[in-house]
Symmetry: C2
Subunit: 343 residues, 2 copies
């Protein structure tokens, strides 16, 4: 596969673009179906007419079904998407990039093609990889902790319904995050447990309580029990955010935000803010997993993509080496660029 990709790039480089583009189109239809020609042309930022020719070709190949409701990918098209993603991976030389990142940061690296800053559906690809990766070693008895975020929210949706994981326990890594419900860790934990046919426990603790309020809440027996379970997690899957974006999404005070940013924060994970050297510069008061606990957790999986997040990812990786990083092409390329520029 890898060899053919390089062969193709040599003999017909323009062709690579065509294939990548068709993959993008197919993928975007798949995750937005049914969708119309014009709406699609907007999300792909591709002129309508060229899109139309492309779509027509795909339809002729039987990969697309197209009726007055809009376009959908056919069963055959679905099968093609998976194989195509794999091929595009090599076509873009992502295997090479993954190898280099692995060399620099010493963790497993999985890269999906695309840039989630430009194309929302790329998050689905990352989530699918995360789900597949989790599944590859998940066993009964494991405790899985998850965080919130847009990419994390896609993981349950990209996990097939399974059986045989009745003794798995899914928990949120930390308390409520003041985000939209569907992006909260609690929601994601519950949904993931649903897909796995597993148990789940939730943790409702507001962020940024005062010290004594926090104390009294965490001493509630039922809450205390959940926190204990969380700290004993075998697997953590978490997102990484940009510092400013996350601070705003959590509705922090403008003053606090300025303070955080002035201290050099670029990344956020688990409610901790990191500067570009991976130093902790601010902590959101919250219940659940602290980053110190991470060292005792056998399997840490970081999931984050988008070229704008590259520096955040880099900062977090400097703080902690996870077992695996699942990211996208946009972030991966930028990450290498940042690293290369420094050396």
């Amino acid at each position: 596969m890898e060899e053919i990709a390089s062969l193709l790039k040599k003999i017909a480089p323009e062709v690579a673009h065509v294939i990548e583009q068709r993959f993008d189109i197919l993928k975007n239809i798949y995750y937005n179906q049914p969708i119309g020609r014009r709406a699609l042309s907007v999300v792909l930022s591709l002129p309508e007419r060229p899109l139309r020719t492309e779509v027509k070709r795909l339809e002729e190949q039987g990969l697309l079904e197209i009726d007055p409701k809009g376009m959908r990918v056919s069963q055959e098209g679905e099968r093609i998407i998976a194989r195509l993603e794999n091929f595009v991976y090599f076509l873009k030389g992502l295997n090479f990039i993954a190898e280099r990142i692995k060399g620099k940061f010493g963790c497993e690296v999985i890269i999906v093609p695309g840039d989630s800053d430009i194309d929302e559906t790329v998050k689905n690809l990352m989530a699918k990889e995360a789900a597949a990766y989790l599944r590859s070693f998940l066993k009964n008895g494991d405790i899985v902790a998850v965080t919130g975020g847009t990419t994390m929210a896609q993981i349950p949706k990209n996990m097939p319904r399974l059986t045989g994981y009745e003794d798995v326990l899914v928990v949120p890594a930390r308390g409520g995050l003041g985000e939209r419900v569907e992006l909260q860790a609690n929601t994601i934990a519950e949904e993931l447990a649903g897909r796995l046919g597993a148990q789940y426990r939730l943790l409702y603790v507001p962020d940024n309580l005062g010290p004594e309020a926090m104390e009294s809440v965490t001493n509630e027996p039922r809450i205390k029990e959940v926190i204990t379970l969380i700290r004993r997690a075998d697997i953590v899957i978490h997102g990484i955010g940009g510092a400013e974006e996350m601070a705003r999404r959590r509705g922090l005070d403008e003053k606090v935000i300025r303070e955080i940013l002035e201290s050099g924060a670029v990344a956020e994970a688990f409610g901790y803010y990191f500067d570009c050297e991976g130093r902790i510069v601010y902590i959101t008061t919250s219940a659940g997993l602290s980053v110190n606990d991470l060292k005792n957790i056998p399997k840490v999986i970081s999931v984050a993509g988008g070229s704008k997040k590259a520096s955040a990812i880099r900062a977090f990786l400097k703080y902690l080496r996870p077992n695996a990083l699942i990211t996208d092409e946009g972030a991966a390329r930028k990450l290498l660029e940042l690293e290369g520029g420094e050396k």
Copy 2:
């Protein structure tokens, strides 16, 4: 490889065409180098301007070197050609066709892309395959018999210079064929022996001698010895010709030609003419291997291509099942067509 080819055909069928065309171009430059743009446009029957754009692309990729003497393929280009041929094989679905022919005729089938009726260089591909196939089982002590013909003539040229075959003996399958010297069995035997570093014995006996003349010639001790060796051959590599074409090339009388054709002859091999059912309808008087001897020869390799020869190949295969058939796309497709039409 096969899977990627089918993937590519599904997702971007036009691309397949581009790749096949570039392969054709590269291949034709390789076998005719150095060659100019215009001359190439003639042998490819491709308009000059499109060819020019293609050539420019290939040059940009470093596959072509291009100077005032003409175009040549670079070292990298050479490496690409081999890999590309293999890929084009699957892209054209020749694996599938080979399987079907094998099923119908029960012999190994090797198909190379292209049609030697249209593109002369395809004969080189067949010859290269024949050479590689021969090499795969040739061992010291073997006697190899070869016939004449345009495709056969390319075999020595596509055989690398080898050592370790000092005890191999290469002989012509039959006496002189009244053809141009470079296409005669004797010449080919000598050249092949040269490449292998092997021994060779030649056989100069004119075609169509009268019975008593033939008798006296074949009783010559030295000639008799060679004929004995030929009959003991372990491996025979032979071409198959169209009946009319071969009769003319041998300079037979117009009257005889008409007679042969009227008896339904479509194919020629070893000086024997076959009708479309594989029955022998005419025999050129000549010394050497007779088709009866073929049954005692462990390894028979038939090499012939070009869509116009499909019916000749079919006729010969009905007469005798060789161990392997090495042919080209044009003949293979036509062959299946003929078979399919009958069933």
